[in-house]
Symmetry: C2
Subunit: 199 residues, 2 copies
DNA sequence: GTGCTAACCTAGGCCATCTAGGAAGATAAC
DNA sequence: GTTATCTTCCTAGATGGCCTAGGTTAGCAC
């Protein structure tokens, strides 16, 4: 009988597609095997186990996302860069929800250290804020704020966590405005500055 | 033989404790039954199925969280209220991780409409920002920003998503400063305001 | 064709969810 | 104290997912 032509990469790719359809948390080697018309056990020649499969998807997804972020920030600075970065990320989360979830998967440090995608995401993230001229540790704080806000927004958006009739896109635009202002008026003194941020 | 004395409430409570230990996504009726020294099937007299159990935990957890948020904002306004609210939420996420995850579970609208905890969380959330005097739709946008930021921060914190050596508590304090400033200098005109926020 | 290296198989163990129907404890009625 | 009843908890078993061990076969190199 004809073979399905499985390889680790092809299995990972199919798992990523499956994740986009049913959610990263619901990928199953059985479902994947069914998709290839193959017995469950056949996949274990290409992938160690379910955990390994998930890690592979996470690494693949990070590469995808890094490419998009790089495109979205290339040749831009300041708010253009901020908005491009954030909206590319959001677009990724919306059109590739399973892969997006995969990028949030906690990974061993050793895996991250060898995942080009994860490393590129980090460096792009730091780089795209350079025009705001924030010194450390404010830069790290700012990045944590952005990451937190985006991740929270996307996962609330995905789980329909926003009930209010207010248009989500309008909120998104406003949030980017606010973040841009916050970055430009970043409070640099230790707490307590009141009505005007110094700059 | 002595009976375990199961009721729906006691099962739900135990499930919440289990969730805090192994993660909300990893609660299992088998593990729960083991914990009571009872056969798996015995739990199905008190709980319809795993989904139902999870929903019950979510409703219970929301009640817990609402109580804490109410305490943390009582008699406070402005930044005190903001910081109390946010830190109570964070404390909940850190000390009751399973219950916290449960509060993020997507629920049917009908379930939310009957969950006192979920409803109270919403009303407390809106109320605790009243001192900032934001009109709609800015208030909704602001709440979405806060919810997104908190949720993202907590889930990144829980999954060890912050690698940088910068102290997390310091970042947290700074983020609250920034959010407070953002709320006080909320850009109210449609985009494009540049170096100073009007007020 | 022969041999080799994969890709893929069957069989089966383990553990999870969940249903059906039965037994045994608790409670109240008499 | 016996009886009737309700609820609690049981055993048995179906289904389906993960995963291992070991065998078979397709496809390629020569």
């Amino acid at each position: 009988m004809a073979r399905a032509g499985l390889t680790a990469d092809r299995v990972t790719e199919a798992a990523a597609e499956l994740a986009d359809e049913v959610g990263f948390d619901n990928i199953t080697v059985s479902a994947l095997a069914r998709r290839f018309g193959v017995a469950d056990a056949s996949l274990y020649s290409h992938v160690k186990n379910l955990k390994d499969l998930r890690v592979r998807v996470a690494v693949l997804a990070a590469r995808d996302l890094a490419d998009r972020l790089a495109d979205a920030t290339a040749g831009r600075a300041g708010k253009e860069s901020l908005a491009g970065f954030a909206s590319a990320w959001r677009e990724f989360a919306r059109t590739r929800p399973g892969r997006y979830q995969a990028t949030q998967m906690p990974l061993d440090a050793a895996v991250v250290a060898e995942s080009a995608g994860h490393l590129r995401i980090m460096s792009i993230t730091y780089a795209h804020l350079s025009a705001y001229g924030l010194p450390e540790p404010d830069l790290t704080d700012a990045i944590r704020l952005l990451r937190s806000t985006y991740q929270g927004f996307f996962s609330l958006e995905a789980s329909a966590g926003f009930n209010h009739p207010r248009d989500l896109q309008d909120t998104w635009t406003k949030i980017l405005d606010v973040l841009d202002v916050a970055l430009r008026h970043w409070p640099s003194n230790p707490q307590g500055n009141d009505h005007e941020s110094p700059h």
